[in-house]
Subunit: 160 residues, 2 copies
DNA sequence: TTTTAACTCATACTTTTGAGTGATTTTATC
DNA sequence: GATAAAATCACTCAAAAGTATGAGTTAAAA
């Protein structure tokens, strides 16, 4: 019980140094225990096998505990392919293309599947305004359709 | 050496069952060893402490080995952000939505920014056919526009 | 202060897209 | 060979998208 809570709660604080101290401490206890068990061995004679068995059991446990403590966890890196997180906007490309803040905004809303009308409502401007932005956008991106714009924008990390 | 190669190469094949068998096997060997060491103990008398020490050492080693064997490696998930590589088509979702091969094809071409007319030319069918496919596609995906379809399809790993 | 770029909006027009309906052919399955 | 699903195509109508042009407003920069 002592070892268990110690392991789980303070696992990260254990350094090689502390482990060594702990090991020495354990050995001291063990020597004492051995002598104690030996005494019983003298009293209860002919129970040699039991004595050996106890020692074997105890040291097996010690070995297990030691190994679990000293063994650094094997780290298996598992790759997770993610699209959404870790996005870094390509500001260089944005500047190179001369995209304005509003245009980038419209572009992003486009990519979410909104219609021009919906974008207009979301940004509190008229449909014509959005159309103008869209047209300028397509010209700057050198595309003909919004689907192309979205594709290119994602490819250039302008959005998403 | 034997154990090492066994660990690394067959790590995934080791089940609880096999571990138990291995443990039993080890115990059998140990009993034999104990008897052997005991024999030496009888011959070389008064070396009781050495005998105990050997057993202790051996079982500590056994414990360590056991722990290393039984201890499952800690799996640390590391996210790697990749856009293009490692794409796995979500066939389960495709089936769930009931998308046909042709519909999926049209969907993919849509996502590349092609117009219906261009898709029709690419697939050597009429514009009307593509429109029909698109309509069915939108119904199945429960969307209203192609941009929404593309967005949803990418989200569900139906394309790209 | 003038200039410039960004943002706004309108009108007119064209093209593309999408909805709805119906029908024929192909292909695979029972 | 019947059946069902998939693919094909047409026609109409409506909605959305896109083009072109012109113009007013605002805010920042020269």
């Amino acid at each position: 019980m002592f070892f268990y809570s110690f392991e789980t709660k303070k696992l990260n604080f254990l350094t090689k140094h502390k482990d060594l101290i702990l090991y020495g401490f354990s050995l001291a206890i063990l020597l004492f225990l051995l002598k104690w068990i030996e005494l019983h061995f003298v009293i209860i004679n002919h129970s040699f096998e039991i004595y050996v068995g106890l020692i074997a059991l105890f040291f097996t446990a010690l070995g297990i505990w030691l190994a679990l403590k000293l063994n650094k966890p094997t780290i298996i890196e598992k790759e997770i392919f993610t699209n959404k997180k870790g996005f870094k906007l390509n500001e260089i490309e944005v500047q190179k293309l001369g995209l304005s803040k509003r245009e980038l905004e419209v572009l992003h809303l486009m990519s979410t599947g909104l219609s021009n009308q919906e974008i207009a409502e979301k940004l509190f401007v008229s449909l014509n305004t959005i159309k103008t932005h869209a047209s300028n956008l397509f010209e700057k991106l050198d595309v003909k359709r919004r689907t192309q714009a979205i594709e290119k924008a994602k490819r250039l990390s302008l959005i998403e």
